[in-house]
């Protein structure tokens, strides 16, 4: 029978099917961080059970870590306590732990791929919804709750009903200045923030075939923002070239065996999806969000829609625009902004910093803008320095911070003040996401850079 990429990977990991219930689903690789794991370890202790396969779990500290002075003790006692719990639990159960100061430390969805832990055909979970990032490699990867973290630690399995299948295809070539982030925000704006709920998405078509691994990670990362549990892209030569030689990737004969297997991981020509959606690359322009969920996005040249043209009900829409301080029908270009955040598991990789630098080079940071540039990992930070990007940023008046999730969810000190506007390369523009009362405009690194040097929302294509 013809099957999809998703079927092939899913079906090969079902330990047992429960009648009128979920599948018992085996997890190859498990990432944990300081925020969603402590209660899972507590649960193990209360039940008196242990970790079945400690070598399949990888711990990194990222969510609440400071992005300056990481060599000093963490000041916030609650954050320090969580970091200590992660370190102690990892040590007790024999789990590799990349804490603050470790050269491999960084955002979980950046360091996993960077170290070759993420592999095609693998099943990967983490107590974080942006685990969907790893689907870029042809893995089934999705976020789980803390009870499920405990399940994976204790039995390497979770209980999951198999989701429905959706294929999102984008044909053609992207215009200059249109990035993977714009492609994802465009798709979400068309499907809405719940349009893919209940589905697992495969991205297909020329746009994704031509995309770099980092671009694919950005797209898959944002799958959850349209409600999908995850998104994936069939592995190809781009995938293999990225992985070869990375720390945890197979080596020697094992590499050849792995690549031969990975080449079988694709959707059969006549395989059926529950839903098929098609877009044209030429319809996509640089995107910006204007509301309080990632589905509320539009092309930078467009104006904020009227209530009758959106999926939200009138009350919800009015609340959202009221929070943002925007009016129906207003243009986005020219709006004054206060903060710029470059970073996160969505856009905290080297290509994102190259893109940002390409626009700010030879220009100066606008005086009204506070900019936080936060690499996704120490490896990215080192690349920024080696490639001379740091010099460009410094000459343009920017400061580079240290790796972590930072202002994406404002669990550390990087909080956008109430009422201020932040152009952010992160993934969520929910109310208060970047700090109580903060107003987030999601965009690409190009858009963030254009706003950072002009102080207002600017079409980045004018500065390329």
């Amino acid at each position: 029978m013809s099957t999809t990429l998703f079927d092939k990977v899913w079906d090969s990991h079902v330990v047992r099917k429960i009648e009128d219930g979920p599948d018992v689903f085996f997890i190859d690789r498990h990432f944990i961080h300081e925020v969603t794991s402590p209660v899972a370890f507590l649960g193990l202790k209360e039940r008196g059970i242990s970790v079945l396969y400690p070598e399949r779990t990888f711990a990194t500290a990222d969510h609440n870590t400071p992005t300056i002075n990481q060599h000093l003790p963490v000041e916030d006692p609650l954050s320090a306590n969580q970091l200590k719990a992660l370190e102690e639990n990892s040590k007790e159960y024999g789990i590799s732990h990349w804490g603050l100061g470790n050269s491999k430390n960084g955002i979980v969805h950046v360091v996993g791929p960077e170290n070759g832990i993420t592999l095609p055909g693998a099943t990967i979970v983490c107590g974080d919804s942006h685990t969907s990032t790893h689907g870029a490699f042809g893995a089934i990867a999705f976020g789980i709750g803390t009870s499920e973290v405990e399940m994976v630690l204790s039995t390497q399995c979770i209980m999951q009903p198999k989701p429905k299948k959706m294929r999102v295809s984008v044909a053609g070539d992207l215009q200059l200045g249109v990035t993977p982030k714009d492609v994802a925000l465009y798709i979400i704006s068309k499907l809405s923030t719940s349009g893919a709920t209940g589905y697992f998405v495969e991205y297909a078509g020329k746009v994704f075939e031509n995309m770099t691994m980092e671009g694919r990670m950005t797209v898959c990362n944002l799958s959850i923002e349209m409600g999908a549990r995850g998104g994936m892209i069939a592995p190809d030569q781009t995938t293999f070239d990225y992985l070869e030689g990375r720390l945890f990737a197979p080596k020697g004969a094992a590499w050849d065996t792995a690549v031969a297997y990975w080449k079988t991981l694709k959707t059969d020509v006549d395989a059926k999806f529950d839903e098929e959606i098609n877009f044209e690359a030429s319809d996509i322009e640089p995107m910006i969000t204007y509301g309080t969920n990632p589905g509320m996005g539009l092309g930078i040249s467009k104006s904020i829609p009227n209530a009758k043209d959106v999926v939200e009900g009138a009350e919800t829409y009015a609340k959202s625009l009221g929070y943002m301080g925007f009016q129906q029908g207003e243009a986005m270009i020219g709006k004054q902004i206060d903060y710029v955040f470059l970073g996160s598991c969505t856009n905290g990789r080297i290509e994102d910093f190259r893109a940002f630098a390409s626009i700010v080079k030879g220009r100066q940071k606008a005086a009204n803008v506070t900019a936080w540039l936060v690499p996704g990992s120490h490896v990215v930070e080192a690349q920024i320095k080696e490639e001379g990007i740091l010099d460009i940023l410094t000459e343009s008046g920017f400061v580079l911070r240290q790796p972590g999730c930072s202002a994406c969810l404002a669990m550390n000190d990087d909080k956008v003040p109430a009422g201020k506007y932040a152009v952010s390369t992160s993934n969520r523009n929910f109310e208060g996401r970047q700090g109580p009362g903060s107003r987030t405009l999601l965009a690409s690194p190009f858009m963030a850079a254009a706003a950072a040097v002009t102080g207002i929302l600017t079409d980045p294509r004018e500065l390329l």
Partner: protein, 198 residues
């Protein structure tokens, strides 16, 4: 974590008709710093419920003494966003045992089932009926019957059935959880793992 058994719940309900209520609203990230599962109910809907000076926002439904009960009725696409189970813990810890909506985000629904909060998905017209019934009489009672898989407006007898897998239903009725199940098939899991490429 094993939880209270759930069979039938008859209660008044708290209405929150806003759509796309995301888990950052249910519990903002800055309140996720505990290492134990206690006290999250205090921060349920924190930024909608309290001003910056911690005084209550009187127009928010949880601060309105007219409404109370163990059932929370939310707008469409309830629980979108982050996978934080803390959101389900906060709902439970505040005292809710059931959330009703015409549409749930996947992870939140899953998390609820794992912590003993029953997510009941109803049709959009039935959700409207519930909101209208509560608006007309805040003391109106709703019965959620898990064995029968029905939700009933007590005043009028109007009812609808809801979906839940037989496995999850048995778990909730008996207060079992998935870890209990998985522990019992560990040998099968180990045998399976030995055959995998990674």
């Amino acid at each position: 974590m094993a939880y209270d058994k759930f069979t039938t719940l008859t209660s008044t309900a708290v209405p929150l008709s806003i759509e796309n209520v995301d888990t950052d609203q249910i519990i903002p990230a800055r309140f996720l710093k505990a290492t134990e599962r206690v006290g999250f109910g205090d921060n349920l809907f924190r930024d909608w419920r309290y001003n910056n000076d911690d005084s209550p926002k009187l127009d928010f439904v949880l601060n309105n003494p007219t409404y109370s009960g163990q059932i929370l009725v939310g707008g469409r696409n309830f629980g979108s966003g982050s996978s934080r189970e803390h959101a389900a813990w906060a709902v439970y810890d505040y005292g809710f045992r059931c959330v009703v909506s015409s549409f749930f985000a996947d992870i939140f629904r899953n998390n609820c089932l794992n912590v003993g909060v029953l997510p009941v998905q109803v049709s959009a017209p039935f959700a409207d009926k519930i909101f209208k019934a509560i608006a007309a009489d805040p003391k109106t009672e709703i019965e959620v019957n898990l064995p029968e898989q029905t939700i009933i407006l007590k005043a009028t007898g109007e009812k609808e059935s809801f979906d839940i897998s037989g496995y999850k239903k048995d778990n909730m009725i008996n207060g079992f959880d998935d870890i209990d199940y998985l522990q019992n098939i560990k040998e099968e899991v180990i045998a399976f793992a030995n055959e995998l490429p990674y």
